[in-house]
Amino acid sequence: MDTARVYLSLKPSKTAAGAQCVSPPSLPPDACRCPRSHRLALKLSCAGLILLVLALVGMSILVRVLVQKPSVEPCRVLIQENLSKTGSPAKLKCPKDWLSHRDKCFHVSQTSITWKESLADCGGKGATLLLVQDQEELRFLRNLTKRISSSFWIGLSYTLSDENWKWINGSTLNSDVLSITGDTEKDSCASVSQDKVLSESCDSDNIWVCQKELKCECMCNDS
């Protein structure tokens, strides 16, 4: 009976041994737990690193863009277009850079000077300051000059001694052709604007128009 009891007690010891066998497999999970937390930490760190790198790239791009932007567009200066030359009739010629209209050649200056200086300049070109023939001619010249300036000198002046407007060729102004607006309390010169002919100080600056009579080749051919 005691031996039988001993045998019975042995069986539980076997089961206990089985339980002990089961415990070793539980160890690996314990070992895995710590590495898992570390792995999570590593993943988070990697994510943070990636975000930082992206931020750096983005900000560097912004810096480059901002550095380039401050360049301000330079002021654009309008370039005056060359005036188109009107076709000249056959057999009639004007010098280079002069414009023909009916029986005259015209030259429009590009700078501004006083009246006396413009008179001398036209003389140097073998021409005279403009002697206005009629309103049609005046209209043509206004269109010609309006891109350059708002007024121009012509060969008409007023002296207190004469108390008259006189052309530079000595003839007196015919008020039917032109009427002058403005003061004549002292010596004055005629300046043509877009809608009037005005009395201006001769020492003022204006562009000017020179004229010369058109030479006829017919005469030359005949002679």
Binding site: Q20, S201, I207
Partner: protein, 233 residues
Amino acid sequence: MPSSAHLQDPPPLLSRTLTQNEGQTSLRQSSSCGPSAASASESLSGSTESRIPHSKMLQGKLPRNIPLEYPAGLYCCYVVIIVLSVAVVALSVALSVKKTAQISTINTYAACPRNWIGVGNKCFYFNEIPSNWTLSQTLCKEQGAELARFDTEEELNFLRRYKGSSGYWFGLHRESSAHPWKWTDNTEYNNSVSIGGDEKHGFLSDNGFSSGRGYIVRKSICRKPNSYTSQCL
């Protein structure tokens, strides 16, 4: 108590019969129990041995391995993260400074109205429709400006360069050829550049400055401070 005695009686009888049967079976079991007992004892001893070295192995490995591997990697990560963070902070500071500068620059440029030209802290407008001096000044005032003046060499050079060959009214005038030139705000002109002619109203010409009669029609130039400066003031 007597009831318990009755309960106790049957077990002995049953146990006797069982003991006889069990004796036979016990003999068989004893033959098999030998190796099983030996294996049991071996397993017990084995488990105890394995327990101790396993625990020792684990204790030895975990503390030894973890500080060797993980901390080094972590330290590297920490260093890299710190460096990157510092760089980002520095860049953000630089960007904020540049953005501020950019904003001020933009304001300076954009503070002039459309079609006006900014030079320094001033705005200039070139009025291409000819009119007399008085009307030119009125048109400037309607836009919160005055006929132009120049306070610096830079402004003067800009006006000369930009105007082209036309004459433009600007802010100088005087009561007669015997009086000194004045700006539109009646401050006296310092004669830094001489003005040609004997008339009472100044205009910009190809030759520099000239004067003409006020009723002559000319283009004109207006000037006013830009709004950025006004805001600062």
